[in-house]
């Protein structure tokens, strides 16, 4: 897959194989299902986070995933995906959810502690998808995100 910045301030993803497309489609699959609730559990009962904030966060997070799923499906027909500047945060958030989901499932910990060849195959695939997502996030941060 090629990831390149565009002159309009976005980036373009050009997957080169079915495997590349499969990884992009896995973003929503890998995403942490209960991220909003898990963050909410960090708060005390007095805050009423579960009732007031968590529903909004769930909507916010699922909106990021819905956007990426749609963009990947539409991109498949054109053999490329363009991420405009204004959609950078949606993509970054969806990729982050996927990486948090992988971490929650496999507990990789710090990257420097991982030896991919020593992992079980399913875990190794998850680790590599996580690195792939992180690489796209890094490009997004360098060229697209304004925060």
């Amino acid at each position: 897959m090629t990831v390149m910045p565009t002159i309009n301030g976005g980036i373009k993803l050009t997957p080169e194989s079915d495997k590349d497309w499969a990884v992009l489609k896995a973003i929503a699959f890998d995403a942490h299902e209960e991220l909003a609730a898990r963050l909410g559990r960090l708060m005390d009962e007095e805050s009423m986070w579960e009732d007031i904030v968590v529903p909004d966060l769930k909507t916010h997070f699922s909106g990021q995933l819905d956007h990426v799923v749609k963009a990947v499906n539409e991109g498949k027909e054109k053999d490329e995906i363009t991420i405009p500047k204004e959609e950078g945060e949606l993509w970054y958030g969806a990729l982050n959810q996927a990486r948090l989901g992988l971490e929650s499932k496999y507990h990789f910990g710090q990257e420097e502690d991982i030896e991919p060849d020593e992992l079980e195959e399913e875990e190794r695939q998850g680790y590599l998808r996580g690195r792939f997502y992180c690489a796209i996030q890094t490009v997004l941060m360098e060229y697209v995100l304004e925060i």
Binding site: L42, M43, S47, G93, L100, E103, E111, I147
Partner: protein, 108 residues
Amino acid sequence: MDRGTRDPGGNLMNAVDAPVRESVTKKKEKTATPWNVVVFDDPVNIMEYVARVLMRIFGFSREKAEELMLMVHQNGKAVVWSGGREKAEMYVQELHGSQLHATLEKSS
């Protein structure tokens, strides 16, 4: 004879009004207590991203945000802001929206 509380205008307050007054007092106490916004380290969020989120939400300079980000990374957590509970909750909500692990704790 009803000897209920009178409001500042001298009007008699009914039984339903009294708890509201108490609730307002409690709310004032609650908001006056200093609270810390605490950010936790996690192995997923990119350090540069954490620094940028701190800059955006709290208006910190890059230097200050990087210093706090490194404290989070090295110590496992860091207090990034202290103040009233309502504002602290607003900040935590924004941090959660950015997928950072954060909470509130009473300032010691």
